[in-house]
């Protein structure tokens, strides 16, 4: 079971790092939101799943409390992260930031 924890932690660290690199390397706001949201959500899910496995292994009152809190944190992240990034992307577009080298921009045409 410990191997499972280490594997989850490693996967989480790799994908979170990918999110941070994507945030630095992509050329405009929208693509940065792509990279940052997808990778940090996926990475954090695995990091927190490691804690879930650890709590389940430990058992007892503390272990169960740990599992519940970690699972709730997981649910919150999964619900709020895409919603927040969606709000930011829409705000960026309404603030007049053009997508970098866009082939087509249907949202601009609507106005």
């Amino acid at each position: 079971m410990n191997a499972l924890i280490y594997a989850f932690l490693a996967v989480g660290a790799v994908f979170n790092g990918l999110g941070a690199v994507a945030l630095l390397r992509f050329p405009d706001v929208y693509t940065r939101i792509h990279g940052a949201t997808k990778c940090t959500t996926f990475g954090s899910i695995f990091s927190i799943l490691a804690v879930v496995v650890y709590g389940a292994m430990r058992g007892g009152g503390d272990g169960i409390g740990m599992v519940i809190r970690a699972l709730l944190a997981l649910v919150f992240l999964l619900l709020t992260n895409p919603t927040g990034s969606h709000a930011l992307a829409r705000a960026a577009h309404r603030a007049g930031i053009k997508p970098f080298r866009a082939v087509v921009d249907r949202l601009e045409e609507r106005k």
């Binding site: 941070a20 945030l23 954090s44 804690v51 809190r69 709020t80 709000a87 930011l88 705000a91 603030a95």
Partner: protein, 88 residues
């Protein structure tokens, strides 16, 4: 023992990533870029808090992580609203 240590190491690694995101927070170039960087750092901080709670066996930090996740979401929504409409 070694498991707790590995949680601590993972938290330290995520903290390093949060500092990398802080570079984007500093250089911008637009306000939206900074907001995205802040949102990413918030996600990382939630994960860090959960890992630290497991590493040091502090249940209270996990409670803080839950509240932080929800409040940072509300904060992101307000920043987005500000970007859309300015200060109103």
């Amino acid at each position: 023992m070694i498991v707790e240590l590995s949680f601590g190491i993972a938290a330290a690694v995520l903290l390093a990533y949060a500092l990398v995101c802080a570079v984007r927070l500093g250089v911008g170039p637009t306000a939206a870029d900074r907001a995205v960087a802040l949102d990413t750092i918030n996600t990382l901080v939630v994960a860090i808090m959960v890992l630290v709670g497991a590493a040091f066996d502090l249940m209270i930090i996990m409670d803080v992580a839950l509240v932080y996740a929800l409040l940072s979401f509300v904060g992101t929504l307000y920043i987005a609203r500000y970007l859309e409409e300015g200060l109103r």
